[in-house]
Symmetry: C2
Subunit: 191 residues, 2 copies
């Protein structure tokens, strides 16, 4: 079953015996999502954090002018949600769409907290995951502050070499905070 992906994911940081993993898994629910389906819309209650088994998703905002800005992508082994609203119980600020047919395991905030209470090592796991996430976001901020558009693009491709195969260029542009035209000119042959 696909749940082996979740188990391996947890076992990168902690060890679980079969009974523990089964118990853990029982707190998730499995879901298939089709390409272009919307998983979450602004204003919705944010009931779940999604662990991606396969496929590809994006979380983004839409501004007054209707422009999308992508906060994160999520592929196999990644988590995605509107965390602000998930943790605080407020309505979603973000949208989450399926870019490519996906399978996810969703975890409610209540179940997450329950697991953390019941198992010290799961609390440890999520602390570490959050630490790594924090570091990744700091690096993204530094990249936005320090680097020009070309450098940001090159760093991104270095970090995720197969991103362009998974995601349309205009969405990469949106993630970088530039227009699709500017990205297109970046990758165009040096005039």
């Amino acid at each position: 079953m696909m749940s082996i992906i979740l188990r391996q994911h947890f076992e990168q940081l902690i060890t679980l015996n079969d009974a523990e993993f089964d118990y853990l898994l029982s707190h998730f629910s499995f879901k298939k999502v089709k390409r272009r389906r919307i998983l979450l819309e602004r204003g919705d209650p944010v009931n779940n954090d999604y662990f991606v088994l396969s496929g590809c998703l994006k979380a983004y905002t839409v501004n007054d002018l209707g422009k999308e800005h992508i906060l994160q992508f999520a592929f196999k082994d990644w988590w995605i949600s509107d965390y602000q609203s998930y943790y605080k119980g407020t309505p979603a600020q973000l949208y989450i769409d399926c870019i490519d047919d996906a399978e996810v395991l969703s975890l409610t905030i209540a179940n997450r907290e329950k697991l953390c209470r019941e198992f010290h090592k799961i609390e440890y796991f999520f602390r570490k995951k959050s630490n790594f996430g924090y570091i990744a976001l700091q690096n993204r901020i530094l990249s936005l502050l320090n680097n020009n558009v070309r450098e940001r693009y090159e760093q991104l491709i270095l970090l995720y070499p197969d991103l362009l195969e998974k995601v349309p260029k205009q969405q990469v542009a949106s993630y970088l905070g530039i227009t699709r035209e500017t990205l297109s000119r970046l990758t165009a042959p040096a005039k």
Copy 2:
């Protein structure tokens, strides 16, 4: 003593009796830092996470052209470090300077992990802190992606109304990812 600040900080999320708090506190060391002193330089080993009791610090990078980009400020009740290097044990990428005479409590990574191992509720505390930090960084990224310079500035002042009293404007500009000249023109009387 100043340590009451630390206790209240922890007690926002968990409860500690006197013995527990004393034990916790014994894992920190107190330090005074003078204005303009450098607490951490690129290449240093990152031994500590700093909890600020008073004063003001900044964490920043310096690029090839010698330009500073401020990743975070830290005032009373905040934590500051080069987390990537702190958690991974690699040499510092960031600088940390004292903007205003400060008192801090420092916590080594070994002591942090020890406390988390020994007290489930401290693990809980740091998980929650990391979650909140993650959310704050996501919001900063969204602000960088979604908003123009004026909007970013206005949001920042809304979020930290007394920032300008604590920090020179050029450092606010550096935090926003713009030049001091641009910030100056923002705040200039509408021509």
